[in-house]
Symmetry: C2
DNA sequence: TGAGCATACCTCGGCGCCGATGTATTTTCC
DNA sequence: GGAAAATACATCGGCGCCGAGGTATGCTCA
C-alpha cells in the first residue's frame, strides 16, 4: 500500500522524502504511523524500478533534499492500480480510503464509477463477523454487548457508505453521459 | 494480531488448526483472508512459547487433528493484551474490532470500560486525512468528491461509534457500581 | 475401485515492515 | 558560543507474512 500512496502523492507534485512522510502520516498515520525504516527503502525500490525519479537539490532548511518525481512509467503504473485495484483495496477499509484519496487522478468518470461499483458489490454481499456454523449471526442474536457493538458499527458504516456510493455513481454516470452527448 | 485472535478463540474452546482457520476467516477474512502459511507458523510459535498446548487426536473426518488448548500462561497473556492493548488495537479499526470480539473475556466491567474509554479518547481527538499545511481540511473544504466521501464516511462511522461507546461505558459503570454496592 | 474433492497439516524462500541506530545540517534559544 | 531540537536521509538485523508447493486421510460418486 505504501508504494501506491507514494505514487499517488507524487502524481500531484514533486516532493522530497520528508514532505512525503508528512503527507502519508496525515493520510494513514493516525491509524498506523509510517516508520522511516519503511519509507526510505520503499522510495529506493521505486527509484530502482524507475517508477520514481530522484535528483538532489540544496536543502532550504536542513540537509540536502532528494526531490522525487513521478516518471511516465510510474504514472501509468499508478493509473493502472487505480483502474484495476487489487482485491484488498476493495475489501480493506484502510486500503479503500487510500484508493479514494487518489481516485480523482483517473480522468474517466466511467472508470471511476466502475471502481465504486466494485466496492458497492462487496458491501452488498451479506457477511457477518460471527457465525453459528454456517449461519451468519446478526446483532440481535448475540448476548455479548461488544460483539453486538462491532455489528452495529459495521452496519451503520456500511449504510452510510452504500448511500454515498449510489449517489456518487449516479453523478459520475450523469457526467459520463453528458460527455458522450457532447462528442 | 493473528496471535491475539488465536488466543481469543482458544479461550472459549479447544480447537484444531483447521477450525481455527474457519473462525478467523469469518472474523477477519472478508477483509483479508488468512493464508495457511501464516496460520500454521503462528500456531507453532505459540506452542513453542508454551502459550498454547497441542495434542494429537485421531481425525474424525480426515487427517489426525492437532487439538489446541490455551495454557494458563496463554490465558494470562490474552487477558493482559485485553486489559492493556497496544496502541494499534485502539487506532486501527481492524485491530479494534478483533479486540471487541474478545473483550467479554475480561471479567471486570471497570477494566472493560477503561478500554472503551481509550477508544473514546482516540475518536474524540480531531483528525483529518487531508491537510492544508497544518490546517485539517473538512469535507466542505474539498472539491474532490472522493476525498469528500472519505471524510463523510469516516465522520458518520465515528458518530455512531461514539454513541455506542458512551452508552456501553454507562452500562458497564452501572454494572460495576451495583457490584461494588453488593460487596 | 479409483478419481476427485474436502479436510488437515506443514515447510520454504522471498520480501516487506519495523525499531534501532547513525550521519549531517540548520535553526533556536539560553 | 554551545546545547538541543528539528530537518533530512539512510542502513541493518530480526521477524512476520504470503504464495507455492508438498503430504496424507477419508468421503463421495461414478
Amino acid at each position: 500500500m505504501l508504494d501506491f500512496v507514494i505514487l499517488g502523492f507524487l502524481y500531484d507534485s514533486r516532493l522530497h522524502g520528508w514532505e512525503l512522510r508528512t503527507r502519508i502520516s496525515a493520510l494513514t498515520g493516525h491509524v498506523r504511523p509510517v516508520a522511516d525504516g519503511t519509507l526510505y527503502p520503499a522510495i529506493k525500490r521505486l527509484v530502482d524500478a524507475t517508477l520514481v525519479l530522484k535528483n538532489i537539490e540544496a536543502g532550504s532548511i536542513a540537509a540536502p533534499r532528494h526531490m522525487l518525481e513521478l516518471s511516465p512509467v510510474g504514472e501509468s503504473r499508478l493509473l493502472r492500480m487505480l483502474r484495476e485495484p487489487e482485491e484488498v483495496y476493495i475489501t480493506d477499509e484502510n486500503h479503500w480510503f487510500c484508493l479514494l484519496a487518489f481516485l480523482r487522478h483517473l480522468e474517466d468518470p466511467a472508470a471511476q464509477a466502475a471502481v465504486l461499483k466494485r466496492r458497492l458489490k462487496f458491501l452488498s454481499t451479506p457477511a457477518s463477523f460471527f457465525y453459528d456454523g454456517d449461519k451468519p449471526l446478526s446483532a440481535e442474536d448475540l448476548d455479548d454487548p461488544f460483539r453486538r457493538g462491532v455489528l452495529e458499527i459495521a452496519r451503520a458504516t456500511s449504510r452510510t457508505e452504500l448511500q454515498w456510493l449510489k449517489k456518487t455513481i449516479g453523478e459520475l454516470e450523469d457526467k459520463g453521459g453528458r460527455a458522450a452527448v457532447r462528442n
